[in-house]
């Protein structure tokens, strides 16, 4: 059968994967703390049909051979950890990290996950939790009688209590960083988990050792560039169309053979 059919099929499935990534990026264009993915393509191996320099007779050689590529594949996706724009919300438990780093979240199974989504709330046990009710690490308890919570840029959480002149220190937020954040595994719900590629988590005081500082009352938008995604969508669609055109051409060729011979 025509090899062109299978080559174009790889083209179609690669563009399909890219479109899936683009649509996921666009779907999350206004998800707080979302980091966009980009797809990396690679051409597949080449096959030698005719070896260049092979003997065409005892005294002559083929000047050039024929090697045919076998298509394209998606080699991987890269998370892009550039910063998103900042929205000021003025809510006391909306926190963003200005710079590198992640908040550590305790998963129900006891392991740690990391996020840049700083939409926190207080649960029934007075702990600071994220929107899914998972506890922020290190755990900080806000007393029920607290009137307001203040978080400094270096992560110190303080509460003003009715009838007390002095503020009450509740604890310190930490920011965790990785040597290679691109290696983190996205597990959904805006969470990432550590992998061998990301390196081990290094927690520290916000604003020190290259870690980002804390911004209270602000949220980090997704870093999806909508215009760029739409342009990518156009090129993906056109490449898809052209590959399907090749498939229909190869199909017509085969059809012509079977009808005419």
């Amino acid at each position: 059968m025509s090899q062109a059919l299978w080559i174009s099929k790889t083209g179609l499935s690669a563009q399909d994967t890219r479109l899936a990534t683009i649509s996921n990026n666009l779907a999350n264009a206004s998800t707080v703390g979302f980091k966009r993915d980009s797809v990396v393509f690679e051409d597949l191996l080449y096959q030698i049909r005719r070896q260049p320099g092979a003997q065409s007779s005892q005294n002559t050689q083929l000047p050039s051979g024929l090697q045919i590529g076998t298509g394209v594949r998606v080699i991987g996706t890269q998370k892009e950890f550039s910063a998103g724009s900042v929205d000021v919300t003025e809510k006391p438990l909306d926190i963003s990290i200005d710079g590198r780093g992640f908040f550590e979240i305790l998963l129900p199974d006891g392991t740690a996950a990391y996020t840049r989504n700083g939409q926190f709330q207080i649960n029934a046990e007075d702990e600071i939790v994220n929107s899914r009710g998972l506890v922020l690490q290190p755990a900080i308890t806000v007393p029920a009688e607290a009137q307001g919570v203040t978080i400094s840029s270096d992560g110190i959480v303080e509460a003003t209590i009715a009838g007390q002149a002095a503020t009450q220190n509740l604890g310190t937020l930490q920011v965790t960083n990785f040597v290679n954040p691109t290696g983190l595994q996205a597990v959904g719900s805006n969470l990432f988990v550590e992998t061998a590629a990301s390196g081990s988590p290094q927690a520290g005081t916000p604003g020190t050792q290259g870690l980002g500082s804390i911004e209270q009352g602000a949220l980090e938008n997704s870093n999806v560039d909508v215009v760029e995604e739409l342009v990518n969508m156009i090129t993906t669609q056109r490449t898809y169309e052209m590959n399907s055109k090749v498939i229909s051409t190869a199909d017509q060729m085969l059809q012509f053979v079977s009808q005419n011979l």
Binding site: G11, R18, L66, I68, G71, Q78, S82, T239, V246, V257
Partner: protein, 247 residues
């Protein structure tokens, strides 16, 4: 039966191979740094002895690779780079030899090695480049890698290595079976200090979709003509048989 039918058959097979070359180009139309492959047909005459020399087979050959530049795509990513002019990025192929690529979407491995998107180590002044833990990695215009070491202040910068950018003679370049470009003699190339790179950009493939689709359509028609030839020869043969029928 006229043996000329084999010429049409061989030609049909070769056109299918040529189609595959163009199909591969189009499949890689969106692959960063991909270089278009050419294909051509040459005549191979098989005429023995006296008589009318009418037996010439067509053979499809790879006619090299188009090394012209793709267009620059702005990505804004720190580790994306495109070489200006006729330059290439030197990488280490899996077999340890030096190869060249224009796919400049770089990344850093867990071990701190600078890799291309398809996991090949990027070569520096003395072999693969290792990057210490850093808060920010910047690629300079001449390939110099500057890092802000982890935990250091913004003004504490250090230079790590320099990406090997090369400018080999096009006539010496050939594309291997792994899609990487190498020197024909397998030697290493000398770095060219005059080359510049653009950080935050990627180079698109240099595939011209219009060209490729036109070629594919023209090949498809050519294929149909060859099939028509087979059909005609079959008709010739059956007509001859009919006329010569004795009963």
């Amino acid at each position: 039966m006229d043996r000329g039918i084999y010429i049409a058959m061989a030609s049909g097979q070769n056109i299918m191979s040529a189609q595959s070359v163009h199909a591969n180009n189009l499949a890689n139309a969106n692959t960063t740094g991909f270089q278009t492959d050419f294909e051509q047909a040459t005549t191979h005459s098989v005429s023995y002895g006296d008589g009318y020399k009418s037996r010439s087979y067509a053979i499809t050959e790879g006619a090299g690779t188009n090394f012209s530049r793709g267009s620059m795509i702005d990505t804004g990513r720190d580790l994306d780079m495109a070489v200006e002019g006729d330059g290439w990025i030197a990488v280490q192929a899996p077999d340890g030899t030096e190869a060249f690529t224009r796919a400049g979407s770089l990344k850093i491995s867990p071990e701190g090695q600078l890799l291309t998107g398809n996991n090949l180590p990027v070569l520096g002044n003395g072999g693969p480049i290792a990057i210490p833990p850093a808060d920010k990695v910047t690629l300079g215009a001449d390939g110099t890698i500057t890092i802000q070491p982890q935990g250091q202040k913004v003004d504490v910068l250090s230079t790590v290595d320099r990406i090997k950018l090369v400018k080999p003679d096009y006539a010496q370049l050939t594309k291997g079976l792994d899609g990487l470009v190498r020197l024909r003699d397998g030697e290493e190339s000398v770095p060219d200090a005059s080359l510049r790179l653009q950080s935050g950009f990627l180079e698109s493939s240099n595939v011209s979709p219009v060209d490729e689709l036109t070629q594919i359509m023209s090949l498809a028609r050519q294929f149909e003509i060859n099939v028509k030839m087979m059909k005609t020869m079959e008709q010739n043969s059956s007509t001859a048989a009919q006329i010569l029928r004795t009963s």
